[in-house]
Symmetry: C2
Subunit: 343 residues, 2 copies
C-alpha cells in the first residue's frame, strides 16, 4: 500500500529548517563491484560532486553526464532537488574529504579523502573533522531549529558495515545495487578487520578509533554536527550509512535530539536491517515513499525494484517536504520534471 | 569627544543576524613594507588564518604567535571576538583564496590565492568566485535578516586603491600602519596599471575586469554575497577595502540593501577619504568607537595613534554589538579580557 511519510511527523513544529549534505570520496569506493553510485567504477569519484551540482544548479559541471547507476537509474539527487525547490528550505553541501570539488559554494571541515579500509586508515585527522563539525553545529544551532543532514559517499554502506562490526552491533546494511553485493562487502570488511587485528565488538568503547580504522570521513562530520547542534532538532537523512552514524552517536555518548529519515526502498530492503537496528539503538525513524510505482519515468520506476534506494539525503528531503505540507504527488511530479531537464 | 556608534542605527530591527568574514591571501601582500597586518613580512600569510582561529577558538593554531602589527598592537580580531561573544551572533569564515588554512570550519567559494597585481592577475576565476558567492548569499538570505560581512586580507588597501583608480574614482585608502606607506602603494598601483595598459577610469564600465586585473579574491566574494542577499540587509564591515567593494557594487549595478560600518580609526584617518567617498558613492556609513583611549592595554591604546585601525570586521562587529544593546564599556572590557588571555 502507498503511504507518504510514516509515522506522521506530528511533533515537528519547524520554523527555520536547514538542509546539509555531507560529501566524501574514499579509496574503498574503488574496489570493483562495491558500489552502484556511478555508471562505472572510473566515474564513482565524480558522484558526490555531481550530486551537489545537480541539487544546487540543476545540472552537473564537474562531469557532463549526471550521476546514475550502471542500470541507468537517476541519482537520488533529483529527489533532494525537488524537495528543496518545493519547500525553499536553505541548504549547503559540506566537503568532508572530497577528491573532486563541485563548482558550488561549500562548507569545509578540513577532511582529506578516505583511505581503502582494507589496507589503510579509513579516516585521517578524525579528531580535527569532529571538532570542526562540532563548532559548525554550534554556529548553525543559532540559525536553525531543525537541521536535516544527508550524505553522498559512494561505498558508504561498506564502511558502515565495518564500523558496525567493530562496535559489536549485529546489523545488515543496504546497497545502491538491486542485488546487494554482500560477498564483496563482507570480504572487504573481513580483510579490513583482520589486517588491523580487530574482532567483532573490540572497539565498542572506542568509537573514534572505529571511525579512524574502518569508517569514512562523512561519519566524524555528522557526529560532530549532531553534537554541536545539541538540543536543536537534527534529522539524519539516509539509510544504513546514517544508521551506522546513529550507532556511533550512541557509543560516543552524544545526547542530542536526533532521529533518522529514509526512503521506503531502504526500509523494505530485506538484505538490510534498518528499522530493527534503528529501533534497537533507541532512535525514531521516519520513512518516505515517493510513489515511484506511479511514475512515467522508467529510471524512477527502477527504484521500486531496488536500484539506488537512497542518497544525497533524499529520504530526509521528502520528510522535510512532508512536514512543510508538500504531498507525495506534488513531490513526484517535480522529480519527474527535473529528470526531464537533466537526463 | 567619545561616542559609541554614529549615527545611531535606529532603523535596524534585527531578529536573526549573521556574521561572515571573508579571508584571502595575495602575493601583493609580499611586497616589503606594504602591510602591517603581521609582525614581519614572512608571517603575513598567516594573518587571515590566525585571525579566524582567534575569533573562533580564542587562540591560534596555525602559528603559535597571534597576529599583531610590527609595533605590537593586537589584531582587530580581538574586537570581533568580543562582539561575537557578547552578542552570541552566529558566524562563519569564508575561504576566498587562502594559502594558509585555519583549523576551523569554513565556507569555501572556490577561490585561489591572489596574484601580485604588478606582474600577474590579481584574481583568477573571478566569475566562479562571484557566482558561488551569489549562490551562497541566496541560501543565507533564507536564514538571516541582517548579514554583516567583514574581511581579513593583508595588503587589501593597495588592491582597493588600484581598483578604485581603474574605476575612475578619486579616493584615498587607509593603512594598518600609523604612517600610511603611500609611496609604496602608489608605486605598486602605478606599475600594476601601466603593465596592463590601463589608465584612470578605463575600467569604469568593466568592474569584473577591474577585480580580475587589480583586485583581490575577497572582492568578488563580497560583491556576490551582497547580490545574492538581495533585499536582505547586508552591512559591509570594514574600512577603505570595503569602500572599494561598495564602488564595485555600484559599478556592477547590484541593487541590494547594503551599508557599511567601520571604526573611528578609519573614519578619522586623514590620509584616507572614507566618509566622503562612501557618501559620494551613495551609501550609508556607521562609525564605532571602542574608546581605547580609556584602555589599560598599551597595545589597544596604540590604535588611538593609528596602528591597525580596522580589520576582521571589527567595526561591523561593534556595530552589531551596538544594535544588540551592548555598550562601549562592556565591549572594551571584553576586548581587554581577550587580550589578557591571548597576548
Amino acid at each position: 500500500m502507498n503511504y507518504w511519510i510514516k509515522p506522521q511527523p506530528l511533533d515537528f513544529n519547524v520554523e527555520h529548517p536547514f538542509f546539509l549534505c555531507v560529501l566524501s570520496n574514499t579509496d574503498t569506493a574503488k574496489i570493483p563491484g562495491i558500489s552502484a553510485a556511478g555508471r562505472s567504477p572510473d566515474v564513482i569519484d565524480y558522484t558526490p560532486a555531481g550530486d551537489a551540482e545537480l541539487v544546487t544548479l540543476g545540472r552537473t559541471i564537474c562531469k557532463s553526464e549526471p550521476p546514475m547507476t550502471p542500470a541507468g537509474s537517476p541519482t537520488p539527487a533529483v529527489i533532494t532537488r525537488a524537495a528543496l525547490q518545493l519547500t525553499k528550505i536553505p541548504f549547503l553541501f559540506i566537503n568532508s574529504g572530497l577528491r573532486v570539488i563541485p563548482k558550488i559554494p561549500l562548507l569545509d571541515v578540513g577532511a582529506k579523502p578516505g583511505g581503502d579500509i582494507r589496507t589503510a586508515k579509513g579516516v585521517l585527522d578524525v579528531g580535527l573533522i569532529y571538532e570542526n563539525s562540532v563548532e559548525l553545529g554550534r554556529q548553525i544551532k543559532r540559525l536553525s531549529d531543525c537541521v536535516i543532514i544527508g550524505e553522498s559517499v559512494p561505498a558508504g554502506t561498506t564502511t558502515a558495515m565495518c564500523v558496525l562490526k567493530a562496535l559489536g552491533i549485529n546489523a545488515r546494511v543496504s546497497s545502491s545495487y538491486p542485488e546487494n553485493p554482500l560477498n564483496i562487502k563482507e570480504q572487504t570488511v573481513e580483510e579490513a578487520l583482520s589486517n588491523k587485528g580487530i574482532s567483532f565488538g573490540d572497539l565498542k568503547d572506542d568509537p573514534m578509533r572505529a571511525i579512524e580504522y574502518f569508517g569514512d570521513p562523512m561519519m566524524p562530520c555528522v557526529c560532530g554536527l549532531v553534537k554541536g547542534l545539541g538540543d536543536t532538532t537534527s534529522v539524519l537523512a539516509g539509510g544504513t550509512q546514517m544508521m551506522a552514524v546513529l550507532a556511533l552517536i550512541k557509543h560516543i555518548g552524544i545526547n542530542s535530539d536526533v532521529s533518522i529519515a529514509t526512503t521506503k526502498f531502504v526500509a523494505e530492503d530485506k538484505t538490510a536491517s534498518f528499522l530493527e537496528t534503528v529501533s534497537d539503538l533507541g532512535f525514531k525513524s521516519y520513512i518516505s515513499d515517493p510513489g515511484f510505482n506511479l511514475s512515467k519515468n522508467p529510471g524512477l520506476r527502477m527504484y521500486e525494484s531496488g536500484d539506488v534506494k537512497e542518497g544525497v539525503g533524499a529520504g530526509g528531503g521528502m520528510f522535510a517536504a512532508g512536514i512543510m505540507g508538500i504531498g507525495q504527488d506534488e513531490l513526484r511530479d517535480q522529480v519527474e520534471l527535473i529528470c526531464d531537464q537533466v537526463f
